[in-house]
Amino acid sequence: MNALNTLLGSGPGAFLAQGGGSFWLPQRGTAIAGEVDSIFNFILWVSLFFFVLIVGVMAVFIVRYRQRRAGEVAASSVSHNTALELTWTLVPVALVIVIFTVGFRAYLKLTVPPVDAYEVLVTGQKWNWQFTYPNGYRDGQLHVPVDKAIRLVMSSEDVIHSFFIPDFRVKQDVVPGRYSKIWFKAEAPGEHVILCAEFCGTGHSDMISKVIVHPAGEFETWLEAAGGFLDKLPPAEAGERLTQSLGCNACHSVDGSRMVGPSYKGLFGSPRRLKSGDTVTADEDYIRRSMLDPAGQVVEGFDPVMPTFQGRVKEKEIAVIIAYIKSLSDREAPQP
């Protein structure tokens, strides 16, 4: 793309990673983002040229040939010119062939990962992202090392989502029942937002996470420390961490505010009025059932939208989440 950049009067240096973005585009976090941007700018210049040409000619005609007196007739009756027609057919044909070609070549780079890429599994579900690392550790945020190709293997638990990192100029639908792949190589430490770009329901616009790019050497340390938190942290703290990595906090607040689901604050030990009309007390079993069979006991005023976590959380994980929810309530465990 160097030739293209020179053509546009800006050196390749303008497209280094960590670019600050422009009027049109967000900041750039990868080298390929710079290539995509230079194609964007190339099409922008082509478009501006034709726009100014068409609207300019139109403006000149309006001024020059405006009817001054009702009933005036046209000064010319020319109705065709084959050479002109062929010119404005063939010039656009040549231009779109160029645009297609540069776009396709950059697309290949954008979609074909290097063979030694580091693999992270991505699960999309209403309405959070989960990232599973090679050691089995799961997190709600995507941690990656700098300057290393990362390959994401993605699938959805429910409907179609779309994994979108604007700063990296990558996007790929995450479809239930199949795996889709995407890759990138972050050029500098920092954070970038991850969005869901395919409409997926009530919490679609809250299905947000971030990529955290670690400086050289620090990612491995982080992963090792993060991996054993269930054993290392006190249960309530481990539970807090787990609710974040499982994405529970996308729908359940901890400060009493109402989101898609009920808040955790003051939940434990309180009476719960269900849609079925029954009232139950939120004890350990209630919380456990709410995770494994959420549709079985929906609280009045809420929709049955929570996915089941049956088979996706281990007993020990359920225990620490219960410990965490307990810690958010000042009620004692109900006496039988």
């Binding site: 973005g21 009027f23 049109w24 585009l25 967000p26 995509v36 194609i39 964007f40 099409i43 922008l44 082509v46 478009s47 034709f50 726009f51 068409i54 609207v55 139109m58 005609f61 040939y65 009817q67 009702a70 009933g71 007739v73 046209a74 000064a75 010319s76 009756s77 020319v78 109705s79 065709h80 002109l84 027609e85 404005w88 057919t89 656009p92 645009i99 297609f100 540069v102 396709f104 697309y107 429910d158 179609i160 779309s162 979108f164 604007p166 990558v170 996007k171 639908d173 479809v175 029942g177 969005l195 770009a197 409409f199 997926c200 329901g201 009530t202 679609h204 616009s205 809250d206 929709d303």
Partner: protein, 553 residues
Amino acid sequence: MSMSTHTPSSAADDNYLHHGRGLKSWLTTLDHKRIGVLYLISVLTSFFLGGLFAMLVRTELLTSGRTIMDANSYNQSFTLHGAIMIFLFIIPSIPAAFGNFVLPVMLGAKDVAFPRLNLASWYLYVVGAVFALVSILAGGVDTGWTFYTPYSTSTGGAVVWLTMGAFILGFSSIFTGLNFIVTIHKLRPAWMGWFKMPLFLWSLYATAIIQVLATPVLGITLVLLVLERTFGVGIFDPALGGDPVLYQHFFWFYSHPAVYIMILPAMGIISELVSVFSRKHIFGYRFIAYSSIAIAIFGFLVWGHHMFTSGQSGLANMIFSALTFSVSIPSAIKVFNWLTTMYKGSLRLDTPMLYVLSFLFLFTIGGLTGLFLGTLATDIHLHDTYFVVAHFHYVMMGGTLIAFLGGLHYWWPKMFGRMYSEKWGRTAAVMIFVGFNITFFTQFVMGSKGMPRRYYNYPPEFTIYHQISTYGSYLLAAGFVLIAVYLIASLFKGRPAPANPWGAGTMEWQCASPPPYYNFHAAPAEHDPYDFSHLRYDESIDGYLPAPGAQGS
């Protein structure tokens, strides 16, 4: 039919509006002009409803988080805005309202080939619209107008009502298309070869081909969707062994050609208007006619460009990207031809012409921004962002709706026999042009900066763009309200329209305004629809009359 036995008291009174009175005479009419008027009232009502939902959506987006409604209501609002605007307004708008009214007259015919099928088409439209209304009352729909599976088969609400509504509307569209194809083939006068037809008819013909060939695929797809949702037949849902991407192929196999169902008739209107208001023969008639057909054909081959990020293969992406660019060429040809038609013309800047100029400006932006989306590398970033929203509003609204308004102001005197206020007409045209650009140009910028579409909440850096866009949409809405006011006022207080107020050469301007029931008392003679040399401006009627001795006089 009672009206066919009706004898007019005088020739002047014998126009189609007075030929038979009462609601029943309208609801059982077989007159293509009355069916056109019924369609016009229906699509304008739908446009009003779709516009209300647009205002709700834009107002909600003034702030991130709750402004006037919760997330579920917002999701339903944009779904209904899209579904109503696409299925109930844009697709039937120009062909069913103006096409029905002028197509037979432009051929010098008494009616379309199948008048009863024509009336049936309007009734199907009404039934489809009722289904859509029921879906709003029966719990709403929050899938987006695209009904993507498996979301649409798993979410609550009245998805089946709305999809069945779209299914029925599809048949209404097929009936209209079929009727137009047969009418153009069989009812042309002997002297009118294909290349002597007005270009509006070429565009309606190309549109009708797409309506007849593509719409059945949408019908089948929606039926499969309903089967899966209602009976659990696994077609698209992977949990039942189906494939959700298959749904997208089926859906876009119709819905991309449908984009050309929407834009081709608009291009036809522009071809007529640019020539009439330049007082000059259309430039490049054959290139414009062929490019309509080219667009109809290429339009069938590009549906996969809606799916570059869906997970379809890289090879498919490459082919669809290449084919997509092929559609841009005939559109560019048309723009250059319209522009050249104005060269050395005598441009009348009346309200319809202001919409032509507006169209050229907005459609150029809409077309050029399509280049960013047809290009693979840039589409990956821009797909499903506000850049796409802005692009298709520039094409569908800046293109089709603006041309529809141009056609409405052009044919209004013919349809109702009254002139509207030119001053207010021009004011509204400028308000809409300015309001439109404020609303939607802003969306290009936020989209390329990464703002996804269909978002209820959004990051704070996008607040300023959303607010500018919303305020622009209020100006836009005010323009539409103004049009409604002065057009309705013109029915009561407007100056009676001359037969040919704009000096146009197509045949509908040879009969009185409004046209007599049978359109013509005598068959019009052979003429070139873009030759204006035989027309002379007459100050006393503020319209044009055939010059003494000229043909057709």
